[in-house]
Amino acid sequence: MTTALIAEDETLLAEHLRGELARLWPQLQVLGVAPHGAAAVEMALAQQPDIVFLDIRMPGMSGLEAAEAIGEDWPDDTPPPLLVFVTAYDQYALQAFERAAVDYLLKPVQPERLSQTLARLRQALQQRGRGSPASAESALAQLRALLVSPGLGLPAAAPARLTVIQAGQGTAIHLVPVGEVIYFEAADKYVRVITTDREHLIRTSLRELLPQLDPERFWQVHRGTVVRCDAIATALRDEAGKVTLTLRGHPDRLTVSRLYAHRFRPM
């Protein structure tokens, strides 16, 4: 049986979508409604639906961030769920969805448009049923394309590049040249800045920090990790295809998520 999850913070709209789905695709079993992004990730990973309808603007974690987290933490042995983004009005988002060929719905959801989407979803699930190995990889590729979209994953206007990180500690501000940073790691509301000999905390999110870093030099390898590429010593791939990085000048090992594993291939 085909299953779906709805992530939508506005109760009325969530119930409406559930009602329309019941009418247009009675065999589809809606497993539940997640009222915010973090709940969507948790429920998706626990219940493993075939389809997730994701509202873009949700409290705490946006639909896109939820999609990223679902994509990264999804078990390797099953294909990730098909994603349908739902938004009221987001010009950047629509452009990004068109480019990445991801399905989306506009609120208020119109029955005709929803039927088209459902037809496409059925078709995609059938292809997947025939065991097309490319489908998982193409879902990841779509997600990757979305995450680098201006105005959606990235801010619409690129801020200036940082040359030093200013980290406060007590009454002192430590200035750390970005060239000395080995990697950045998201930690709740903070970002940990790791250098060879010590680490600092800065009060920002990784998502805001990322556009201020040179993408050629600092590679995102996980939704919570950005590493300076010339500090990477080796990338090790185990039998399951999981990639781990060892670093120059630091004993830590970093896990590469499946969204970013494509970066590490022999030349």
Binding site: L12, L13, Y89, D90, L106, P108
Partner: protein, 360 residues
């Protein structure tokens, strides 16, 4: 000093040729004027007048371009076409003297005559001739300058108009935040099917909100009670969407109900409280709007119990706050203020305080 460029920098080459043609017409006119007492000498008059006017123009206009470019390089942003009146005065005098000398030399070559030069006759004759020759140059320079200024003023007025229209559009878009509007409509569409009376109530609130928003840009004032009613409409719309995640409290003391305020002054603050305070908070929270009096000052407070000011806000907030500040500054100058600060109690969140003078 006024250092704005007086002339649009475009198409100087075509202008140069055009000015040359017009100078030749002026030269012909002068020749005709001089030969009025002796019409048979028209040929000779032309032979002097045309070269002299052309040469004067060549030196003055060329001098202008070179001086303007030099001044621009020295001072930076000044006008690429106009070096300033000080320079132009000197250029007109020197250019006329040089132009007269060169033109007269050419005229002598054409006619085979030996007209005495500016320096060879009496100083008085030379001075008079120079002064007379300067008149057309000075007039032409003046015409050139005023026309340039005129075109520039026009361009400036057009640009100002365009900017004003853009600002108004941006304001309207900020007030009618599309995301809010479409989400509200989506909710309305659902309510129509399941709860028609509630749908009607919601539609009425939306209508009142839209009407107030569209009227607000047309200046004027309205009573604080009307301001609070519109805020209540807006918050009720948001409440349909957010359900239990949004609680509201509006407190307007009776004696302040008739005080006049700019329409929808607090709207951007209420919107920020929801959009940047409560919407990102998983558990939601409360928006509190209160009015109080402090002597002749009206104090309006918009407070939320949301995520607070720690998170860097997007452009939207800054635009909303700037808009409130601009309106206050235009209407009240220094006598009004807007302060945004952490709410500073256990519930957290953000507090915006607007202070403005009570006007009858």
């Amino acid at each position: 000093m006024d250092t704005r460029p007086a002339f649009p920098a475009s198409a100087p080459r075509r202008g140069f040729v055009w000015r040359g043609v017009r100078v030749m017409l002026v030269g012909t006119g002068i020749a005709l004027l001089f030969s009025l007492p002796a019409p048979h000498r028209i040929g000779i008059s032309m032979s002097y007048s045309l070269p002299i006017t052309l040469a004067c123009w060549f030196f003055i206009d060329g001098g202008r371009l070179i001086a303007a470019r030099w001044v621009r390089r020295r001072d930076g942003g000044a006008d690429p076409q106009w070096p300033g009146w000080g320079w132009m005065g000197a250029i007109v005098v020197v250019g006329t003297a040089l132009g007269f000398a060169v033109g007269q030399f050419v005229g002598n070559q054409i006619t085979g005559q030996q007209d005495p030069s500016l320096l060879s006759g009496s100083p008085q004759r030379g001075f008079t001739l120079l002064l007379m020759s300067m008149v057309p140059g000075a007039i032409a320079t003046w015409v050139f300058y005023t026309r340039g200024r005129l075109a520039d003023t026009e361009a400036r007025a057009q640009q100002a108009q365009r900017q004003a229209t853009e600002a108004q559009l941006k304001l309207l878009e900020a007030q009618l935040e599309p995301h809010m509007l479409f989400n509200t409509l989506a909710n309305l569409r659902v309510l129509i099917a399941i709860d028609p009376p509630r749908a009607q109530a919601m539609l009425d609130q939306l209508i009142a909100f839209l009407r107030a928003t569209l009227n607000a840009s047309r200046a004027g004032r309205h009573a604080l009670s009307a301001e609070f009613a519109r805020l209540a409409d807006y918050l009720a719309l948001m409440q349909v969407r957010m359900g239990e995640r949004l609680h509201t409290k509006l407190d307007l003391p009776g004696d302040l109900a008739s005080v006049n305020v700019p329409p929808l002054l607090l709207q951007p603050l209420a919107e920020n409280a929801i959009r940047h305070g409560l919407e990102p908070a998983v558990a939601g929270g409360r928006v509190e709007i209160t009015a109080s009096r402090d002597g002749d000052t009206l104090e309006l407070r918009v407070r939320d119990t949301g995520v607070g000011l720690d998170r860097p806000a997007g452009d939207g907030t800054r635009f909303g706050l700037q808009q409130v500040r601009d309106r206050l500054a235009t209407l009240y100058g220094d006598r009004a203020s807007l302060v945004l600060q952490p709410a500073g109690d256990a519930e957290g969140g953000t507090l915006a305080i607007v202070r403005l003078p009570i006007t009858p």
